[in-house]
Amino acid sequence: MTISPNALDPLRSSARTTSQVQSAKGSRAVRNFVTAMLFLAPSLIIFILFVFIPLLKTIQLSFYLTDPIGRMAAFNGLDNYQRVFDKKELLNSLQVSFLFTLYVVPSTIILALFLAVLANARLRGISVFRVIFSSTIAVSAAAASLIFSFFFNPSNGVFNYLLDLANLPRVQWLVSDVSALPAISGLTVWLQLGFCTVILLAALQGISQELYESATIDGAGFWSSFRHITLPMISPTIFFLIVVQTLSALQTFTQINVLTKGGPVGSTNVLVYLIYQAFYFNSQYGIAATMSVVLFLIMLVLTIIQFGVLERRVFYS
């Protein structure tokens, strides 16, 4: 069979169009990429300059000796890490930070769960209570600290007044190294309650009423519905709150700086405050960066553990 030029022609022309389409596609892909980059550029520039480069620089600083204005003077390997862990201060701060997290996170979430269940009741005027329960969202940590400093006053503060009324011994609150950390934890619980309640209430409202209705028909009471329906259904949200609140507790700074400045005798000297003192007051940038890396790694490991251990117990519908 001979192939006539006529038969070839359409074939050739169609081949030409495919390659044209391909090259058009290729140039459109390039054009799309360039356009997308232009739209992303403002955000990307900020992220690169103020998140990614600083993160790498913090890690780099932690391996260097630094001069008083933060310039890297000499590479000294893991010396900073050794120096940091040799000091009693870091170990003390680690202990304080963990203790603080332990005081704050479980009590905040349990209390917030109680508030959210209450605020989920379908009653007249419930929205007023919802607004009040979430009101601490609007309060800054600095304002909350100042308000509570009035309550913690050992001679005429409201907390010692309540203890007097209950015939219990008075507490020195922020003045004593025994009670300062629990006192700051208490005010932090109050401050975080609004946020946690809002999140949990939204999760509760997402549960279908039919589940409860069929449980009631089966004769389940409040507790049994709560244990077998509510808790499993909101377990992803509780898990989310545990992770977020743990990270935020480990980074608490404002309350400490306003109320105790790490004292008395280091009893509230959380890790972030130690880092702040190291670079802001003592200009030990290398040491401060080393401690930042340590805290970063601790938070990373904790989050991974929480994902590994807790997430398996979480129920995703």
Binding site: A29, N32, F33, T35, A36, M37, F39, L40, S43, L44, I46, F47, L49, F50, I53, P54, K57, T58, L61, I69, L118, A121, R122, L123, R124, S127, F129, I132, F133, S135, I137, A138, V139, S140, A141, A142, A143, A144, L146, I147, S149, F150, F151, N156, Y161, L193, V198, I199, A203, T237, F240, L247, Q251, F253, N257, F279, Y285, S292, L295, F296
Partner: protein, 317 residues
Amino acid sequence: MNETEARYPWWQKILLYGLLIFMAVIIAYPLYQAFVTSMATATETQTYPPKLFPTTWQFQNYVDALEAAPLPRYLLNSIIQSSLVTLSHLILASLAAYAFAFIDFKFKNFFFLIFLSTMMIPWEATIIPNFMTITGRNPMPFCSDNEIFVGILQFIEGLNIINFTVDPAKLTCAFTFKDTYLGLALPYMATAFGTFLVRQFFMSIPKDLHDAATIDGCSRLRFLATIAVPLARPALGTLAVFSFLQTYNQYLWPLLVTNDKNMRTVQIGLTMLQDQENMQFQLVMAGVVIILIPTFVLFILGNRQLIRGLTAGAVKG
């Protein structure tokens, strides 16, 4: 909030209302007491038992608080800083969200991950280099003692955007962001959270609408400005309330990058009302009430937006 009222037995109703009122009193008490104390005389703040109800109305406390620290100036600073960050979040998030929602480009997933990862990096891992960048003196590549040039520099400095030092002898110029509005806002001007929030909204706009508009010669930017952004108003409202509140309540960053008495923000200025030896609680509480007013107005007016924003981060779907 058009929920049907559930039928509870009368004793359950009483129990629920009792618990709701009891918890509301506990949650609201600190704010209530701050207000009462802000209206008390100096001697009334020293009495035992503490005054739980107002007996006098000392509006003078507010006047005194405004004089003790330049609170109006701090309020102005905080509002400028928060507005800068909020405006930048709205613009940058809309631009980036447009790229993620409407453009098919190579490495989209990679860039998405870049944005996501900025939410995982804690601030203490970046704050030391950022502090050095913002407060450091950076030499300028060109310099002149030309009157017009110096005049322009002084004009920019007068707006508190960038501070300059010109050394006419050596003819070297340097600039710093220390004690400027730009220094307060710059590292926080991009938002991954906001980008995802707006993108989620853009995804609900039919892609056909976008394709038809752009084929008809409507440029991408015009589509974004005239069609996408108006449609995404609820998401942008949420982002605005959220960003403003977050920036207004910032504490550590303004503490680090402002030293000039006139450039402090409210959260720092407020704690300057603390007089360690002779704490004037009525003045401190008046200051607390003053700085809480803007956030509470925002909290009440933007309650729905705020709660949508908070839950968007937690409850996926």
